[in-house]
Amino acid sequence: MDVILNQLFAGLSMASILLMIALGLAIIYGAMGVINLAHGEFVMLGAYATWALQTFAGINIILALPIVFVAVALVGWIIEKVIVQRLYHRPLDTILATWGIGIILQQVVRLSVGAESRFVKGPDLLSGNTQFGGLIMSNYRLFVIAFSIAVLAATWVLMTRTEFGMRLRAVIQNRGISECYGIEANKVFSLTFAYGAGLAGIAGALITPLFSTIPTMGTGLVVDAFLVVIVGGLGSLLGAASAAVLIGEATALFSMLLNDTLGRIAVLAGIIVLIRFRPRGLFPAKTRH
């Protein structure tokens, strides 16, 4: 029983990181219809930025979070301005372009930092464990879970309660008329892309103590994040959250019952069956027209 609980807990902390990656992907796709294949590399950049801040400036992960968010958001903003923005009327080409950007980012890091795995220490403040009977929870993982819930809440507030969110929702529903009422769609898109990238950066920062930091680390993560977006249903924050938990936990449980490889196969098979019966995901957005 304890083994299962501990495995569920580990699954939940992985799910919360997946959620932050998936949120960024879902927001970028929902707003601009761009499938951002460079998203995993934004996670990787976040991880390396965290490593660099810790190694060269002695800044721990928690203090690094806001810096990493801004830095990766800035990278995303520049990429959107320079490349993605020119391709909005050619959606298929954005897939190729973002994939290429991803490869470039990977290789730039490989050439400048090196291919070997980098280590980032968890913050001392969160080094211990919290025990509940047989359930041993690392404080750091608890922090990750709480933080991702806070990110989800902040994103919800940003989208539904702020003027920026209103501008974005207006542009998504009717770009032409939004511009007739003073909304600069390009500016809104740039900021949205930057926000999504920033979320990926934070996920990368938080994952560093749990995962080896290598240039290709984003590739596997972005696949899982895509699964979260597809299972959750596009355009739904609630869907993304529940799908992240579902996939994180399913992966953890199947890996324990079978092994990592078979567990992976079981999860993917499960998703195929689910998509067969709910092709638009668990909670598809209803008010698109």
Partner: protein, 233 residues
């Protein structure tokens, strides 16, 4: 207050010029009715004023500003409010959010909804929390006008505001448009199929055919023979 001045305006969809050399002046507070049969370019001309076509050549200024070098949102911020055919309110937004959206084009950054909008269209106050998409056509048109007025515009551009709307609301909308012009001094460019209303409301009119102005003049010149010649099918 600024004058809007179009000179030899050409406007394109792809490479085909839909508007072929239209010129007009709109003095501050003036009411211009734009008439013509279906498909002669009336809507395209309005879209050109907002920068919503594929390209424009010729001259188009508003006061000191050269509109052709400005983006759609920059034009809106000069105080040009466009109410398109089919209204295009945001169906997923509440009535309040739809009106508030109009204030995004304000340069002073104020975000309140002017009270007179609710006096003009009381139904909007009643339905303030409903989704725009749940309103009837006539209510949506009132909402679209309210959204435009929320930006405190200098010019209101309306594309067939009474098309497909139940008769009791048509009356209300027509009166509102006239009052906005007479009492609040708003310049108005109106595309309209209803000639009697256009004649009653406008200072000047312009009839378009095949992308060109075929006849224009003061409202008294909009005689039955003009209508007979250019507007009947």
């Amino acid at each position: 207050m600024e004058t809007m001045r179009a000179q030899e305006l050409h406007s394109f969809y792809g490479k085909s010029p839909v508007i072929q050399g239209v010129s007009f002046d709109l003095e501050p507070g003036e009411f211009l009715a734009l008439l013509g049969r279906n498909g002669v370019g009336k809507t395209t001309l309005l879209k050109s004023l907002m920068g919503l076509t594929d390209g424009c050549t010729g001259g188009l200024v508003f006061g000191e500003s050269n509109l052709l070098s400005l983006s759609t949102s920059q034009r809106a911020k000069l105080g040009i409010a466009y109410i398109p055919q089919g209204r295009e309110i945001i169906p997923g937004f509440t009535v309040r959010e739809n009106i508030l959206m109009g204030t995004f084009a304000r340069v002073d950054g104020r975000r309140e909804i002017p009270e007179y909008l609710f006096e003009m269209f009381p139904i909007l106050r009643e339905f303030i929390g409903r989704k725009g998409g749940d309103l009837s056509g006539g209510q949506q048109q009132q909402l679209a006008i309210a959204r435009a007025l929320a930006m405190d515009p200098k010019i209101l551009i309306l594309d067939e505001p009474t098309e497909g709307i139940q008769p009791n609301i048509v009356k209300q909308i027509e009166e509102a448009i006239i009052r906005l012009n007479r009492e609040r001094g708003l310049g108005i460019i109106l595309v309209e199929q209803n000639v009697p209303f256009a004649r009653r409301a406008c200072d000047r009119f312009m009839v378009l055919d095949k992308g060109r102005v075929v006849v224009s003049g003061h409202s008294k010149d909009l005689t039955d023979s003009v209508v007979e010649k250019h507007l009947t099918f």
